[in-house]
Symmetry: C2
Subunit: 266 residues, 2 copies
């Protein structure tokens, strides 16, 4: 209600301002006439705004909106509420249930080659606290800021993911973590962060080496998965928060897209 | 509020019922002891239910939930509200904007081979009124019921899609409609329905012939797209409400997933 009143006041202020700005300028025939700026459209109500931001978030998750640089600024509060107000966790929990239901139907062989691939950022460990300082993605990507955050090794686990990990390992799967983080600068902090959050049962953590520098995530991750397949691994599942984790070659038998309305990795 | 009161009453009733059912049965040592059924979990509040159904809908759109037979029955009202309460139309409108933005950046050649592929059901024309009678997908798929509906040729246009069609045609694209509807029984009614809704500027309508009977949508539609590519067409975009429209071979340069929380086509 307070929000609605504020919007109405802003609208009235802008309308008055536009009126006060009615200016005199010559028309085509050299005569002067009063030209008024058109009144701005009424601002979206909170409900209309939430409705738009829900459409936007859905389109991001369905891969209809691609290569977006920043979250639409009118969705700042919406994305904040989504990420820390409970719905994000519920969305992840439902996907975890789907993963476990699918994994439970797989007959795991005894040869140790049944594999799952997981991304790291916002798949195992969360950057939501970092992105809080970046207006939940309304600010553009800041490589040095992100590096400084990642070096601290303080990302908390994405809720539910550690439990999922342990269950998959108990079922007999090998877990490969494949991340775009560069090995040279972020290798040790990433290992430390995963371990301090309890992720210790993975088979291998694969970081981006110098050889892959500058390659798109799709190209780099496809190449890594291809190597795993050549080593004999059967990739049963592939889990990531970015569509670039889930596109390209050797995708695995099923892919699972975790939600992330804060940033887009090409 | 009425809903909440009703839920509390149901909960109390169930709790009393469970208590009244405390039964006597022998334990391991042959002695009789009172065994009480555990109280059922409290029913979800309306808010919790909407939150779950939102997670479910998102997971369907992101292709995390697959091969589902029916809408979860607790999401009946949620899906109804989504489909006819305005959010569905907003979601479609945002995707249409994305399509037009992408299409506007394509340099169309003059050779008449720049193509878009569209699905028909719930992409061009809507079955929402039919699904209303099927509890918005809470009832299982009913092939003969659907056939009877489709033969009537009374599906309305999906909002915004006719306008999109005309704009793409104006830009110089050829539109191919590829549908799993069978040609023999539904050919003429489908043509009539598309025409009575204004869809008349497409290049070709391709229905499922006897040769494709029993094939999955992915296999059948891949084969059709493959033929188009062999005929020299460049498929710039591929639009459908099912992931099976957007997977397989010759997908096109970009795919767009329209929302559909009412049914799943494998």
């Amino acid at each position: 209600m307070v929000q609605r009143v504020r919007e109405v006041l802003i609208f009235l202020f802008l309308a008055l301002f536009a009126k006060a700005n009615g200016s005199e300028k010559p028309n085509h025939w050299g005569r002067s006439e009063s030209v008024r700026l058109p009144p701005p459209p009424p601002p979206l109500t909170q409900e209309e705004n939430a409705s738009y931001c829900l459409s936007w978030r859905l389109a991001v998750e369905a891969n209809n909106v691609r290569a977006w640089r920043t979250v639409p600024v009118q969705c700042l509060r919406y994305v904040e509420t989504y990420m820390i107000g409970g719905q994000y966790e519920k969305d992840v929990a439902l996907i975890v249930d789907q993963i476990l239901s699918y994994a439970g139907g797989i007959v795991v062989s005894g040869d140790g080659l049944d594999a799952w691939v997981f991304d790291v950022d916002d798949t195992c460990i969360s950057n939501v606290f970092y992105y809080k300082g970046k207006r939940y993605g309304c600010d553009p990507y800041d490589p040095s800021g992100f590096r400084a955050w990642a070096i601290r090794g303080g990302c908390p686990a994405v809720p539910g993911m550690l439990d999922l990990f342990n269950k998959l390992v108990d079922m007999g799967f090998k877990i490969f973590l494949v991340t775009g983080r560069d090995e040279e600068n972020l290798g040790q902090p990433t290992i430390d962060n995963l371990h301090n959050q309890g992720f210790q049962t993975y088979e291998r953590l694969i970081l981006r080496t110098a050889a892959y520098k500058g390659q798109s995530a799709v190209t780099y991750k496809s190449d890594i998965r291809n190597q795993l397949v050549k080593q004999g691994y059967r990739i049963w599942g592939n889990v990531g928060d970015q569509w670039s984790d889930l596109q390209g070659e050797c995708l695995g038998n099923r892919t699972f897209k975790l939600p992330n309305p804060m940033y887009f990795v090409p």
